[in-house]
């Protein structure tokens, strides 16, 4: 059986790796009042949550707010987590919901590319030609804009599927939607993105 990082199904006894057991122990400690144990959970998932938030919101500032909110909600509602299931999909779903709320509240998405820049590790050292770096930055900016122009549901679905690399069934589980709906959202988003990229590359050339 293939099990990916965010598979939603139950973990059988034989599949309980030391990692899973450690997470279980951390969750139990938090639930019995040891709030410091929550740091262990944050350390394990902060990168994943923050990366997804950055991809969905586009700015480091918003992503930080979203990630904080996700972990605070997770702390509050940790008792609702079914320990027989992996914690990551639960956090991913929460991240998507928080980002959706935050995005709606602030009524802006991806519109501050200068900020989006700050959240990426600088890779200019890799390129000897500064012009190449500049073009890449421009491309990224236009790509964010293209993503931003997609309807919210399509944008989230395609981000999870194509950028996060989750399977369609995993995306459907996170979005609490059917696979058919997600497939349809992803297909439309891919076509729109292709058109936007073609226009964009034409504009850069």
């Amino acid at each position: 059986m293939i099990r990916t990082a965010v598979s939603m199904s139950r973990i059988t006894e034989s599949e309980r790796s030391p990692d899973v057991l450690e997470i279980e122990a951390l969750v139990q400690r938090v639930l019995t009042g040891d709030s410091a144990a929550f740091e262990g959970i944050i350390l394990r998932y902060e990168r994943r949550v923050l990366t997804l938030a950055m991809k969905l919101l586009g700015t480091a500032e918003d992503a930080q707010d979203a990630a904080q909110e996700v972990f605070i909600r997770a702390y509050k509602y940790l008792h609702r987590l079914d320990i027989q299931k992996p914690i990551e999909p639960w956090l991913m779903r929460m991240t998507v919901n928080v980002c959706r709320d935050l995005g709606r509240k602030r009524q802006r998405r991806f519109n501050t590319f200068s900020e989006a820049d700050t959240m990426e590790a600088p890779d200019t050292a890799k390129t000897s030609n500064p012009h190449t770096g500049l073009v890449e930055q421009q491309e990224k900016q236009l790509l964010w804009q293209a993503l931003n122009s997609l309807p919210e549901k399509e944008r989230i679905a395609v981000t999870l599927r194509d950028i996060e690399g989750l399977s369609t069934s995993e995306v459907a589980a996170i979005l609490e939607s059917s696979e058919t709906t997600v497939r349809s959202q992803i297909s439309r988003a891919r076509v729109r993105l292709k058109d936007a990229i073609q226009r964009m590359i034409g504009g850069l050339q």
Partner: protein, 262 residues
Amino acid sequence: MNGCYAPEVLALFIADDLSPAEAASVNNHVRGCEKCLKTCDELEASQTFVKSRLRPMPNPELLSAVRHNVLSKIQSQELTLGWRLKLERMLWACFRKQAYAYATLAILVVISASLLAQIHHTDQVQHLTAAVFDADGLVRPGAYRDWVFLGSTKDAESLHNVYIEPAAYRQYAKTGIFPEGTVFVRERVRPGGDSLTVEASVKDSNRFPGGWAFFAFTDGQGKVLMKALPDGNCRSCHEQKAEKDQVFTQFYPVLRLARMES
């Protein structure tokens, strides 16, 4: 070429998002269709482009800031769990299965709601302490002269003193509504001090159609009765001429003043 696949289908095809049967059919077509092949190439190129460009990596400072802020909020008083969450956690600890915990919560909510309704009802009907009923009717109120005196009218041979039960008076002063259980007593006395008749009106919508009932504690020969059944003679006048809720508030300035002061 006719019969080309929609770009949306090809967008699923290039990322293995179609079922094996669908994929095989599209594959057969695409191999012989230049237009679809070109679309597939473009879609694949855009996929590669997106994946290669959009790889935001949070820097360590940002990760550290998130961790620090969350932990300090959790450990400070700022994030205190409300009683609902504490109760929920407790239930979850007892019942690891969510369904049981939800069921228990639902039962607790129903019980709480019933208790609250009971308390509310008790609060509403506690005014009925002045209106005691048994099989023979309303028991003549006892210490009504200790109640709130609303005023007096006069006929040729007697004074008509009107009293209201104090709890109902306070409630009316507060809300402008006569609560369920309100009791008025009208006592007719001779100027010399003899009590001639005692009448009462009681508001109890569950018991009486129209909300109110009127009682006379004297029989046709003037004999005092200790219990009385509703007397229909008073009703029509109260219904037609009383200013508010079958009560002649227009004649009781005490009630008006109480409302105004409240």
